[in-house]
């Protein structure tokens, strides 16, 4: 078992109203050190077996064609996060 994380963000040139709302809220709460906030999405894909190059390529295709709409968003990361615990192992 492995976990693959896909991160998607709105394109830089496209205004992000969610991020803007959070930015305003943080300013109101006095967090002056924080400048702009942008809000994206994190997808966690659980896969059986080992992560091969072919599987990673498949995930990148899914990320570009389904998880993100590359007209308005960018896939900013595809990372493999190995599961520490094996199925059935004691936690």
């Amino acid at each position: 078992m492995a976990l693959i994380v896909v991160d998607v963000m709105p394109k830089a040139e496209i205004l992000d109203p969610q991020g803007k709302a959070v930015t305003r809220a943080l300013a109101r709460l006095g967090h002056e050190a924080v400048g702009e906030v942008r809000v994206g999405k994190r997808f966690e894909l659980t896969v059986d077996g080992e992560v091969t190059d072919a599987l990673l390529e498949q995930v990148r295709t899914v990320a570009d064609e389904v998880l993100a709409n590359t007209v308005i968003e960018d896939v900013v990361g595809v990372h493999v996060v190995e599961q520490a615990a094996q199925p059935g192992a004691a936690q």
Binding site: L15, A21, V66
Partner: protein, 229 residues
């Protein structure tokens, strides 16, 4: 003429669209997203609503429904296809129309009787209007802001793909006040406002008289004339 109206899980305005087709003088055919069958219709309407709860992105999951294979094939063959609101979002997700629709600039859901200018009349769905004609169509959405990269916007404008533009205050921050688009061939049109809500006296937008606006009817009649032609 037979006009298919596709129902997806979470579609809301399919019945209204069917009624609009009937009031335009033709036969609505209810189609289901899970089938690979257009039942021999002459034109298609993808109605508004919140398919799949707007999960992932508006229209994204619906745009990958079984029936969309046939919708894309039919659109590429030249069949008139109209996407309204969530249907417009699906057409953008299916890449039948350029750009994308994102959350309104204000972050608010907007409901109003919206003035529009018809920018392009050489389409299957706008051929009964005069170029530059002003119409009033109800608008109701939270994610109606049309966006595209600057290069894409320039291409859209240069190729005359803007079908409708917002008049008065821009309701959602859409680039260039774009309310609706057409493909280059003119058979596929998508718009955020709801023409199916402006087809019947007493139930439409307020224009010269209360709830008297019927401008949406010409959109449904347009397609039927273009099919007959």
């Amino acid at each position: 003429m037979r006009v298919g109206v596709i129902t997806f899980p979470g579609t809301l305005d399919d019945r209204d669209a069917q009624r609009a087709v009937r009031l335009a003088g033709h036969e609505p055919v209810a189609l289901w997203h899970g089938e690979h069958d257009l039942h021999g219709v002459d034109a298609l309407v993808l109605p508004g609503g919140f398919s799949y709860g707007d999960y992932l992105r508006c229209g994204a999951i619906a745009a990958r429904s079984p029936i969309m294979t046939e919708v894309v094939e039919a659109a590429e063959r030249g069949m008139p296809v109209l996407g309204i609101c969530n249907g417009f979002q699906m057409l953008a997700e299916a890449r039948l129309l350029p750009g994308g629709l994102v959350r309104n600039e204000t972050g608010l859901f907007v409901r109003r009787d919206q003035r529009l200018r018809v920018e392009r009349t050489s389409t299957a769905w706008t051929n009964r209007f005069e170029p530059g004609q002003e119409i009033v169509i109800p608008l109701k959405n939270g994610e109606g802001r049309f966006v595209a990269t600057p290069d894409e916007v320039k291409r859209i404008e240069d190729e005359g793909l803007v079908a409708f533009r917002y008049l008065g205050e821009n309701p959602n921050g859409s680039v260039d006040d774009i309310a609706g688009l057409t493909n280059a061939a003119g058979n596929v049109v998508g718009l955020m406002p709801h023409p199916e809500h402006a087809v019947e006296l007493g139930f439409g937008p307020t224009t010269t008289r209360m709830k008297a606006g019927l401008d949406g009817l010409d959109i449904f009649k347009s397609a039927l004339e273009s099919v007959a032609a």
